[in-house]
């Protein structure tokens, strides 16, 4: 079996522990929706955290805690808000955790005919998470970042530094990595991009030329 590219384990731990930001939780939740291996890693971490909880120093409850609780058992639960599937046209099944963040949002062209994106209503610092759709064979010019960059493949695939990324995979690049991405030829690729700050193109000319031509 091909080894999936999982989000690094310390980030999955932060998610399992309820410590991640909303944006990183969303990335993790979408990743888990598509990747059973990541789901299993988180399930094991939750099991370990539960073992920690079992041995946590106990704290005594307020005297009326249990009676108060028992009196509330027959309260009607709040009705859960049902978030509809977003109207956004994608050609693939949008992972459910993304639905609330894509309501009433639409694609905007980035490189006409080649790249379009839709921003989600959640940010890391100043940078919104976004779905980026790239046509087959498109090459993202060589670049690095101010901070970390995560690309979760939702459909299609791309190659980066000689590795292949397929649906459910996450590529995780730090500011120290210079890299480019080439979309596989067999179809368009849509990624969920979470980025901590803007891209730094290797050269302004290369940047401009490649984004205009797509290569």
């Amino acid at each position: 079996m091909r080894t999936a590219h999982l989000l690094s384990e310390e980030l999955l731990l932060a998610y399992a522990a309820g410590q991640s930001s909303e944006a990183m939780s969303l990335l993790a939740a979408a990743h888990l929706s598509l990747n059973p291996q990541a789901r299993e890693v988180v399930a094991r971490l939750e099991q370990t955290l539960a073992a920690g909880m079992e041995s946590a120093p106990v704290a005594s409850l307020a005297k009326d805690a249990l009676p108060m609780l028992l009196a509330r058992l027959d309260e009607a639960p709040e009705t859960a808000v049902v978030v509809p599937r977003p109207a956004l046209k994608t050609g693939f099944e949008i992972p459910e955790p993304l639905w609330p963040y894509l309501q009433n949002r639409d694609w905007k062209s980035v490189v006409p005919g080649r790249v379009k994106q839709v921003e989600l209503g959640v940010r890391i610092g100043q940078t919104p998470l976004a779905l980026v759709s790239m046509r087959p064979g498109f090459r993202v010019p060589t670049h690095s970042h101010h901070g970390a960059e995560f690309n979760l493949v939702l459909t299609g695939g791309f190659s980066d530094l000689d590795q292949d990324f397929l649906p459910g995979d996450v590529s995780e690049r730090g500011p120290e990595h210079e890299h480019d991405m080439r979309v596989h030829e067999d179809g368009p690729c849509v990624v969920l991009v979470a980025r901590d700050g803007p891209l730094i193109p290797r050269s302004a000319t290369a940047h401009l030329a490649s984004w205009l031509t797509g290569f």
Binding site: S8, E9, E10, L13, A14, A16, A17, G18, Q19, S21, E22, S25, L26, A28, A29, A30, L32, S33, P36, R39, E40, A43, R44, L45, E46, Q47, T48, L49, A50, A51, G52, M53, E54, S55, A56, P57, V58, A59, S60, L61, A62, A65, L66, M68, L69, L70, R72, L73, E75, P77, P95, E96, P97, P100
Partner: protein
């Protein structure tokens, strides 16, 4: 592991016939532990009590969805308490994946393999001390990686890589133990 399976039975009794006595027994076991965990996470006394109340209301309402072939009772309850913590203490939304499709053959068996705190401690003790120390803060003190970095006076990057290496080694030990 009589005690553990008893908690599972209590949870099933709540799910199958709204058994209040079983519910009270679950409360007696888990509520002080959940409150203890919340205090370690930095919640105030009032917030910790609120998380306990909300967690147990959710247990009461959702117990029929508990599936002992997929998770241990303590893990299932842990995830509810964690979600209430994010909601009530951190006041944030927590995106969650939808429930998994049919479990892959063998996957549930691996997960159902019991892991208790004594075993966790034993496995942690087999790791290089620097990695074990970081993971102890994560699993027994419920600290974030940034908090651990501050406590140990080390760069965050060091804590992240020790966490990563430690978790990998821990998993290898768990698979062989």
């Amino acid at each position: 592991m009589r005690f553990v399976s008893q908690l599972t039975e209590h949870l099933q009794a709540v799910g199958q016939h709204a058994d209040r006595q079983a519910f009270a027994a679950l409360f007696e076991h888990f509520a002080p532990r959940i409150k203890g965990m919340m205090m370690r996470k930095g919640a105030s006394d009032a917030q910790a009590e609120e998380v306990v109340q909300e967690t147990f209301l959710a247990i009461w309402r959702q117990a029929s969805r508990f599936d002992p072939t997929r998770a241990q009772a303590s893990t299932w309850i842990y995830t509810i308490a964690r979600n209430k913590y994010v909601d009530r203490v951190r006041k944030m939304r927590r995106p969650e994946p939808p429930p998994p499709p049919e479990p892959e053959p063998g996957a549930d068996k691996a997960l159902a393999r019991h892991q208790d705190s004594a075993q966790l401690l034993e496995n942690l003790n087999k790791l290089p001390p620097a990695q074990a120390a970081v993971l102890r803060y994560s699993f027994f003190e419920f600290q974030t990686q940034a908090q651990i970095a501050e406590r140990l006076g080390l760069p965050l990057g060091t804590i992240k890589s020790r966490t990563r290496l430690g978790l990998r080694a821990l998993r290898a030990h768990m698979e062989t133990s």
